[in-house]
Symmetry: D2
Subunit: 451 residues, 4 copies
Amino acid sequence: MIQEECGVIGAYDFDGQDVGIDLYHGLYTLQHRGQESCGIVTNDYVRLYSVKGLGLVNEVFNKDNLPTLKGKIGVGHVRYGAGEDEAIPPIQSRYCKGTMTLAMNGHIYNYEELRSELEQRGAIFQSTSHAEMVMNMIAVARTHSHSVEAAVLEVVKRLKGAYSIVVMSPKKLIAVRDPLGIRPLAVGKRGNRYFIASETAAFSVLHAETLFDVKPGELIKIDETGVNHFTENVGKIKPAHCVFEHVYFARPDSYLDGTNVYEARVGIGRELFKACPAKADIVFGVPSSGLHFALGYAYESGIPYGDGLVKNSYVGRTFIKSTDAVRYEAVHIKLAALRGAIEGKEVVMVDDSIVRGTTCANLVKLVKDGGAKKVHMRIASPPFLYRCKFGTDIPDRSQLLAARMTVEQMRDHIGADSLGFLPIEAFERVGLSPDCYCSACFTGKEPDENI
Amino acid sequence: MIQEECGVIGAYDFDGQDVGIDLYHGLYTLQHRGQESCGIVTNDYVRLYSVKGLGLVNEVFNKDNLPTLKGKIGVGHVRYGAGEDEAIPPIQSRYCKGTMTLAMNGHIYNYEELRSELEQRGAIFQSTSHAEMVMNMIAVARTHSHSVEAAVLEVVKRLKGAYSIVVMSPKKLIAVRDPLGIRPLAVGKRGNRYFIASETAAFSVLHAETLFDVKPGELIKIDETGVNHFTENVGKIKPAHCVFEHVYFARPDSYLDGTNVYEARVGIGRELFKACPAKADIVFGVPSSGLHFALGYAYESGIPYGDGLVKNSYVGRTFIKSTDAVRYEAVHIKLAALRGAIEGKEVVMVDDSIVRGTTCANLVKLVKDGGAKKVHMRIASPPFLYRCKFGTDIPDRSQLLAARMTVEQMRDHIGADSLGFLPIEAFERVGLSPDCYCSACFTGKEPDENI
Amino acid sequence: MIQEECGVIGAYDFDGQDVGIDLYHGLYTLQHRGQESCGIVTNDYVRLYSVKGLGLVNEVFNKDNLPTLKGKIGVGHVRYGAGEDEAIPPIQSRYCKGTMTLAMNGHIYNYEELRSELEQRGAIFQSTSHAEMVMNMIAVARTHSHSVEAAVLEVVKRLKGAYSIVVMSPKKLIAVRDPLGIRPLAVGKRGNRYFIASETAAFSVLHAETLFDVKPGELIKIDETGVNHFTENVGKIKPAHCVFEHVYFARPDSYLDGTNVYEARVGIGRELFKACPAKADIVFGVPSSGLHFALGYAYESGIPYGDGLVKNSYVGRTFIKSTDAVRYEAVHIKLAALRGAIEGKEVVMVDDSIVRGTTCANLVKLVKDGGAKKVHMRIASPPFLYRCKFGTDIPDRSQLLAARMTVEQMRDHIGADSLGFLPIEAFERVGLSPDCYCSACFTGKEPDENI
Amino acid sequence: MIQEECGVIGAYDFDGQDVGIDLYHGLYTLQHRGQESCGIVTNDYVRLYSVKGLGLVNEVFNKDNLPTLKGKIGVGHVRYGAGEDEAIPPIQSRYCKGTMTLAMNGHIYNYEELRSELEQRGAIFQSTSHAEMVMNMIAVARTHSHSVEAAVLEVVKRLKGAYSIVVMSPKKLIAVRDPLGIRPLAVGKRGNRYFIASETAAFSVLHAETLFDVKPGELIKIDETGVNHFTENVGKIKPAHCVFEHVYFARPDSYLDGTNVYEARVGIGRELFKACPAKADIVFGVPSSGLHFALGYAYESGIPYGDGLVKNSYVGRTFIKSTDAVRYEAVHIKLAALRGAIEGKEVVMVDDSIVRGTTCANLVKLVKDGGAKKVHMRIASPPFLYRCKFGTDIPDRSQLLAARMTVEQMRDHIGADSLGFLPIEAFERVGLSPDCYCSACFTGKEPDENI
């Protein structure tokens, strides 16, 4: 199981109504992309209003602080894995043209080089946040650019990596997606109010319709003049959307670059059966990310779908591992075998991926202890072989099980009766073509970034 | 959707090892029975150790306070819906024979009468907690009983209602279940350590085996002499387990009086199709309680099972309802329609029950807005017609939709294309016989309590 | 330096206005009597309203919770040194006649015996609080008394110890002082609003006038019929007010049984000079309790009064003692020598008492390190020789410096150039006559308590 | 009563021992200079360690976080009146030469101009903190300076205002005082450990000796090479120490530029009597800042010194003003008249200053209500006539009582029987010569700043 990414959201209301509550509901919907901290900053043309904190959306916002978020423009952020020295995003600053607020979902891999350049000019950095560095770059670019959007477009040409950035200047809401389109970003609308968000699922809960995906490299500016597209960085290189947004990060009800995540997952499950069939009494997924792959596997195979594991939805960030003589692996508290469903049966268990193999081995043991006669493990992605330079949290090659073992060795290691991975070619068959999706973590083939 | 009940747990280690960590893991597993407060009290023969607080298990316990829970005997509690004046359970007191700690899952409906009797003797009450009243009764009974277990057995004869009580005296762990056996209570064991818990799911995560269900009216005493059964209040009246433990309260991996909850739910789903068939493209449940009924409905009908709704698992107790001009019903944040699965289709949606009908109407609208062509609503229990005197949180008859409308009127009210309820007779066919299960909320026929 | 006692307050408004804010201001003024916890309970004839918490008045009360304290009757408490198992006072309960709320400043030394009696009747105790025990006794007495005040008067006859108790029943505010009058209690009035408080200083800040001190053993009942005196326990034994209220506990602006604390302290300072004169360049007190004795000493001696020590008013309960190689005794952070005032001078330093002698020795060292040529230590009370059975926090005789050493040995021990104590006879000369003041901690002669 | 300033501290240990605990004790001693937030950052050559928070020293630091402050170099800060957008000082950043941590007590009045210059170069600002701006200036200067100390010296030439700055670079502790020497700054030493602090009182509690005051404009650098003085900005203009450090800000046990605060205050009190004599029965000060002036007044006049007001030391930042019908001015809770000392007497009451006159009028009323026959108000400074551009928190001229009224009108306004101010010439007689002290708030004559 690999880790989540951040989520960003922005809103602009042409009728001048407050957007704070909508941003709050939107962040609730993006919460799966980051649980470490969250924040909203709004802007009523006069000043900024800000509520931020460590913790979940329902911990940071409350009925006292939400109404303070006044203003018709606003940006929000849910954060995964922040550096301890960082200000909680969205980051606010003042620069030569007034205020600038920035929320960013992403990773800039030439960060050190770009920061060093700024430092040589006399810049200081109060954190190691990539967002703070991007803000500095925009401020410098703005000293010779005629507008903030021009400055952002100039900066984008220098950044290497994956990112979706939302910037709020005193009168504008600006969003830009990296030229490879690695992270998702889309625009929605309800009445005269426009939204920009990491996932379209946010639009659904806001009763907004999805207008379009921001194109790789495209900049959207929303201000009094309307919704404007800046496409000078678009189309110069092949897109390379992250395939793991479909496999793991995104909500099933989101549409990423036109493809519904649920349908992609069911499709992957079908492909997984075609490539690695099994005979079994029941097929089930590892909650929550494995469930829809399992559905597809069941549809294609005709094996009954069921639940083989019960997830404890209360096991939070602060779960304390036992130091008792009897070892409870965390997995036993989080997931319990559903003996009534699996006892005496051959089962197919589907999970999204294998990283180090530890969790998978624990799950197989759990299910066997729960009475399953045979466990056929099916993985809804190809074996992880390479680290991701775009920031997806995959460990070093030395820690990747698949980089050290054959499939048969892995099967033996996790204790399953059979083990099958999705073949890389299957992605294309469910609409995730190598022409526009990056699968460098499986293949080592990195996309071309020079625009 | 009706509300949850409390959960209790107790542990006794014959080898003298600390039981605090096990109680903590156990409470994690019982968390679904109460999220308002939780607490553990342990006892090492010298003194009591206590950690309690408002909030979830992962909020109250931490790596600093868990190790303070020393001792080989202990009790724990997760609380639903506490009175604001109450001490957080388990309640500790001192009485003529030393300390007494009590955790209680239940409701005593002759509370006012019993309390008044105690007050006439000069007792004071620091809360409206039924548990405090029971403690007072035990202390009074103990002034003329030869043991604490004898005092508890005497008290049980006076209590009217539903309850599972765990009492810790200086050297004993005592548990008693109400004579109707309304709330569940079972005993488990790992090595020389014994557990008593509201649900057997707690034993699984503790790697303990389930030994037996406590019989209706039975008292179990665990002390240096071993595990002792006191059965003088057993078998004098017909048991009347609460059928809603199976339909809603309990975890699917628990076994209640011998019946697995998951299997009962799948069975109910099958019966629901037999009684109220539908033609559809997909069947799905309302997460989380409706899922397993939907599985059974799918199995029996052959209609493909799928997911039609996405649950946001982060919407917690503190969710703030919008006061914005645009109304987002809470249901839209908690549950989103999975358009990719339901668009253009006829669907069967299964939920556990209908109380006032508001939630159900919202769900039907949500699913139709999500593109479903037709919605066949199926309810995995008979219509609610009566209030429960045993404490299950069902509102007054005046607020129960089924008490005011015909099924056809209800269908129209919720906006579904068809509506079907489980017939009352179906319970028997899945093993929940009227001979030992109470279904007074559907039939109005209350069990006989006079022992 | 010995420790503080609790403080209690009550209010009754004949015009029916809310008393919560007044109780809050009153507790601020009594804060010196207890810093561990505080609470206010009010009553509007319909229900009780309560705000309580661990910490100081300014930590527990805030602009959100203060307005919730509705009602024309109320009681408040500041607590010193609570048992960890205790509910925060004022304690609320329900008994046969409705609600009872009790705040108590005091110590019952036959607590064990009285509690045991109640336990034999079947009572339970949720804490070791003496107040909870007193509440139980009142409830039992009420089963055969014709009124709550009659029940309280009956209970008083059984209690041995020092106490001021304020009880709020549904329609009455009742206060009672122990028959020896050890702890202070007085009644004040502003318009149609009456106050009962541990110290009259509370009345001053409330712009109320002091009406009278409650007599030893007297019970005051305030209800619709007015302010009523019950004197059946009054005058049967000699009063024995605690002399340490004047020496240490009380605020200088309070009047205790007719004597102003500031004037008593200045008088004691004068007596101290008469008994133990010294020649010096400056006289100063140890802040804060020694200051007014030093003033008196200066007045009588003609030696200039000054400040020799600076108190850091921010050193709170949570001060962390260094574990560094260099040892900073806490006294160095709390008090610093004022070199500018004492360098090269002979000084008289006045403190209220010597218990173990450690603090005093540290102070002498501090002042000498600060440049004083000679230090004449003067103590504004006789040597402590006996433990106090009425609850004043004086340690066992084995730890009392004066019980083990002569004055000359003590002088040597603390490093002073001379040392003088107040002679016991001096108390009478400042109005604290042995006929009505207890000085058993100095003399061992305990007052007669049998009424 | 005017408001407090910030306090800064630094430490460098040549033996390589941790300085965290010393910085904590030091901040306790500087707490009176700022209560809004505090922080310590230490440095062990490898990385920085930081503990910061809103609140008092005893709220922010605890036994868990103090030991994490490892390292032989460190800086600390207590903050008064921070902007809400500011990071809590000391501020940490990274720049071209590694880390830089800065604590600053002061106010830069050409802030807007300097910041605008930086913004034109592309800098961003995450707060309105003057310290963040100074850090940016240092970083820019460092791009062409050969050392951080050279960069700081260059920056100092551009800053207009009052400040003491402590900077920690990876291997150096640097301190600089503004060229006018408005805010105090001194260096102390204990063994091989050196301290830099706003006030020498901090050295006393650390058992360190005061080595010297940092000269106006001087920069001190402590690193492996020892303690180095950089004096290129020293002596070019006349010093102008703030006279209000003596009158109000500093602790009485501090020595500021060679003068002890206590002695200066006693001296001022003597001068005040000489200039504005009164006949009275008692003289007392308004706690706490007025006490030592009153002592001097008593010494010079021969009128007995006493206490006329009792200060409630528990009235903290969160005191809630009544909204009740009866108005309690905050002053009545904070200060109570000591009737026993003043009733029926003519009194002299001494306070440090009059700003708007409201507090003073309340005090006179309080003392008269407390029984004083006549109140002679004496003010230990000349009338405030001008705003302070160096940041002392004096309101606009329009709000200064003395700017609108004659002394007789002021006397009438505050309700006193006589009113006297310190003549401006008196400062010189107590050692605070206009040659090196600024009294622009009284005279309007601002010091020359052009070096």
